[in-house]
Symmetry: C2
Subunit: 213 residues, 2 copies
């Protein structure tokens, strides 16, 4: 398999974690978002929507959207499972993942931050305030949802799931923007346990070939 991705893209990071958890080897194809490589013609042929990550299967099929890719990997490489077996458990894990992927991350995308600054003339400090506001607000909601669930090593139970694949990159981003992470006990305990797992370690931005310190 091949993965078109960018070291700092958190959607890319989610998929890298899933690939490591599944033990799937893949070719790393960097797309430099800050240089705008995702908008160039070469990449449009890979991803008509111009987004990273894109997974290319061994059959040459291209799949976009990180959660769709991870579910595909889970269906085609079932071990270890990244979703529980029961429909209610699956719904709980998907809802946690979507709380990050639909409520937090879209507001902090590079293109959104650029629009705030360039089109809406939002000052740098207010832009950073926007970033921290949505991350903290969203993670507090995530913490309240976790508090309803039985306590486990990870977000849901004692094995990593799709929810952990989404949580870890979001915490990396939060830390990079110096977001207040107090009062997130369950969330940060899950994060800390993830970071003790070699798959999460290996997938992190600093271990990517296109990493820029």
């Amino acid at each position: 398999m091949k993965l078109h991705n960018y070291f700092r893209s958190s959607a890319s990071f989610r998929v890298r974690i899933a690939l490591e958890l599944k033990g799937v080897t893949y070719e790393y194809l960097p797309v430099h978002l800050v240089k705008g490589e995702h908008k160039q013609e070469a990449y449009s042929a890979v991803s008509p929507s111009g987004l990273v990550p894109t997974l290319v299967t061994d059959e040459g099929e291209r799949i976009g959207q990180s959660m769709a890719i991870i579910e595909y990997l889970d269906e085609t490489h079932p071990q270890p499972p990244l979703l529980p077996r029961d429909p209610l458990g699956r719904a709980r894990v998907r809802a946690l993942a979507q709380l990050i992927a639909c409520e937090i991350h879209p507001l902090n995308n590079l293109r959104v931050l650029k629009y705030l600054v360039r089109e809406l003339k939002v000052p740098e400090e207010a832009k950073n305030g926007w970033y921290r506001h949505w991350v903290r607000d969203g993670l507090l909601a995530f913490e309240r949802e976790l508090a309803q669930l039985p306590r486990g090593t990870y977000c849901y139970g004692d094995t990593p799931t799709l929810a952990d694949c989404c949580l870890v990159p979001q915490i990396f981003n939060a830390q990079r923007f110096k977001t207040d992470l107090s009062g997130l006990d369950r969330t940060m305990a899950a994060f800390d346990n993830c970071m003790k797992h070699p798959a999460f370690q290996k997938a992190q931005p600093s271990n990517c070939p296109d990493n820029e310190p």
Copy 2:
């Protein structure tokens, strides 16, 4: 089943469509977002994250996040299926759904628009420009992705899927904000076909008990 929802919430609308497609009867429990009912204590007990929709199963389990709810309905009420049977087809449909649910809709949420106006002092016209920008930009990407797939009655094939459940509410929103919808031939053909289907008709905001014309 019960559905806590709001007539104009497009995430709620997605789930109403799925329930109608499945032929599942449910109790409609309105949560008035503009009046802030989702932030009140009574609703926090239902949804710790304070978001609509929330599905309450016959066993009293609460599930949040529209795509997680629809996948749960699809797993527990398999007919008619809202996802293809093959992993690649499922990935295609999920990616289309997420292109709307993760790339377009989060930027146009009521709370985001409020933050732009109240915190960032963005003028009304620039706020509407923001709305239209992300909807149009996202739908053009959606159209380019559709163009890669075999043509069918709906977004993917000849039966409605999760992708159609997400598309239709987004088009309703786009029309309400007078977004330019030119050049979206495949997308609008799928939308038009959905609107000939009684499930989509029945689920629309104007048929909701809490509808305000």
